[in-house]
């Protein structure tokens, strides 16, 4: 290892990281700093007569004194955590079901992971029309078979609808990762459980699931990062409504920035989103790490 580093590593190779780092910094870090600056100005783009004025933390004060913003934060938290919980449970269940040999298992796995690769726009369209439409969707069909009135998902339960779509799209991702986890469990571990006469139920909860803790952690972390960003399915299905009942943080930033053109306020909301994201991820990461250490101890 040491010898290799002396021979094969050359200082020149360091420069190879620069082009990639430069463009990543250009489209992520630099705009983030600008967003931070914009968050302390009053600037309505469609009202150039008002100009651009420094207003300190007023944007933040306005955000935190508006009840609307708190319900949007709550929507975001509810959407994210309910979705993650469902994805984790369904992910473990499906991965465990598919982690065995049976006729056509590969095809079953293939169709199971498909929704993850379906774009938001299409997922939204298909669910809004073909699946959930109260008259002509599967929703209406099932309701008429059962002889009950169809549920008006988008009108009455908009946030639930968004959760359903997110869970449909992201459960396959959890299955992918957790299935790899189940497959990596060693035969010896399972044999010892069998020798001890543990039931299938106990084996799953006391041996298999702890054994794939790292995989669960990765799936939850990545799921969290991406589900916090949910935008496309909301845009296509509920457009954040009715009212703001299915609006999350990304969507309200979009509304404020590109509908009201209140750039300063939108920037402040975006900064709050960043902080909330980082706090959530750090907290969860710490929690998971602690749990893992406890489990090991």
């Amino acid at each position: 290892m040491k010898a290799f580093e002396r021979i094969a590593a050359v200082p020149k190779a360091n420069a190879l990281i620069l082009p990639a780092a430069a463009i990543v910094a250009l489209v992520t870090q630099v705009p983030l700093v600008v967003t931070l600056v914009l968050s302390v100005v009053k600037w309505i783009v469609v009202r150039p007569d008002l100009g651009i004025n420094f207003i300190g933390l007023s944007n933040y004060f306005q955000i935190f004194t508006s009840r609307e913003f708190y319900s949007v934060v709550l929507n975001t938290i509810a959407l994210t955590f309910v979705s993650i919980a469902c994805c984790t449970i369904l992910g473990i269940a499906f991965a465990h079901m598919l982690n065995r040999r049976f006729p056509g298992v590969n095809l079953a796995r293939t169709i199971m992971i498909a929704p993850f690769f379906v774009m938001d726009a299409v997922a939204g369209i298909v669910w809004k029309t073909l699946m959930l439409h109260p008259s002509f969707g599967i929703n209406g069909l099932v309701a008429s078979w059962l002889g009950v009135a169809p549920v008006d998902f988008l009108g009455q339960h908009p946030l639930l609808t968004v959760v359903m779509l997110v869970v449909w799209q992201w459960t396959p991702f959890f299955v992918l990762i957790l299935l790899a986890g189940f497959e990596s469990i060693s035969e010896e571990l399972l044999d010892s459980a069998r020798v001890d006469g543990a039931s299938a139920f106990r084996t799953l909860f006391q041996i298999k699931i702890p054994a794939i803790a790292a995989h669960i952690e990765v799936a939850v972390m990545l799921g969290l990062i991406f589900i916090l960003k949910t935008f496309g399915v909301i845009y296509v299905t509920t457009a954040g409504g009715p009212g703001i009942s299915s609006t999350n943080l990304p969507y309200i930033v979009y509304r404020t920035g590109f509908y009201r053109w209140d750039v300063g306020r939108a920037a402040a909301m975006a900064i709050v989103t960043v902080i909330l994201t980082l706090v959530t991820i750090t907290a969860l990461f710490g929690f998971v790490r602690r749990k893992t250490r406890e489990a090991e101890a």
Binding site: A8, L16, A21, L32, P115, S135, E217, Y254, V263
Partner: protein, 276 residues
């Protein structure tokens, strides 16, 4: 007695398998139903009929409806982004794994940390900058933003594949007097080829499906398929069979590529996250 028990077990297993299949199929059902509807006449789609005589008229209508420029936009933006991500991401991963950076891990985690950033936190400055530089509604603008957004994923994945290459091989090449560039192209690239191709396919999928930047930074000229789909939905939302046909066409490429590359995705993600 013993025979009965065995039959009982087999029946139970059969029921279990059928149940697994039923669950997987119901999860897949929206996609299946979309594909089926795309072959229906509009009159069979609303209200939905179980039995119908299949037709290709929706595909003909859709392909003649002005979607082609948007498919072209999607294809060009996606392919260019894919090439840039690989062309910039592979060297970056190389220098993290084989270079002599002071802190290769911090460089790697810096790339990772940028994926935490919600796109909304950058969209307003990017929009204003693009407006200023006349990059709004251009394919090049989209390629730039997507390249920056996806390089971290490319670095993450490619790094995990480069780490797998036995260092002894490079040492041997060094002793043989092969130049660095030569050993990169003759040893590293062939060994990491499958991983790099999978990474490229994943970047393809992410960019092809991306919605947020596309809807905010393009209007007519450069808008890719997802944006076109969303506006088609508002304008022609009542033509479900045609909607299904467009949807089927546009999800097909990422679905196929996803089925090819998902193993590499899992491997890359787990390597990056667990083994550090």
């Amino acid at each position: 007695m013993i025979g009965n028990a065995r039959i009982g077990r087999r029946a139970l297993r059969g029921i279990g398998i059928a149940a697994i299949w039923a669950l997987c199929l119901s999860f897949f059902f929206p996609i299946l139903y979309m594909v089926l509807t795309s072959f229906k006449h509009e009159t069979d789609a609303i209200p939905p009929r179980l039995l119908f005589s299949p037709t290709l008229e929706n595909y003909r209508a859709v392909l003649g409806s002005g979607i082609l420029p948007h498919i072209l936009n999607s294809a060009l933006i996606t392919l260019a982004t894919m090439l840039f991500c690989i062309a910039l991401g592979v060297p970056a991963a190389y220098s993290i794994v084989f270079g002599r950076l002071k802190k290769p891990d911090s460089a790697f985690f810096w790339f990772l940390s940028t994926t935490l950033l919600p796109p909304v936190s950058v969209i307003i400055p990017v929009f204003l900058l693009f407006k200023f530089l006349h990059l709004l509604d251009t394919r090049w603008g989209m390629v730039i933003i997507y390249t920056g957004a996806n390089i971290p994923i490319a670095v993450w994945m490619v790094r995990s594949f480069l780490k797998d290459i036995p260092r002894e091989l490079l040492e041997a090449a060094d002793i043989d007097g092969a130049s660095r560039a030569r050993s990169f192209f003759r040893i590293i690239l062939p060994l990491a080829r499958t991983g790099i191709i999978s990474t490229a396919l994943l970047v393809f999928i992410f960019v092809w499906n991306e919605f947020f930047f596309a809807v905010n930074l393009t209007y007519i000229n450069a808008s890719p398929i997802p944006v076109y789909m969303a506006s088609y939905m508002t304008q022609e939302g009542l033509f479900w069979a045609k909607l299904s046909a467009i949807s089927t066409l546009t999800v097909l490429p990422p679905l196929v590529l996803g089925w090819i590359s998902h193993k590499a995705l899992v491997r890359g993600l787990m390597m990056g996250a667990v083994k550090g």
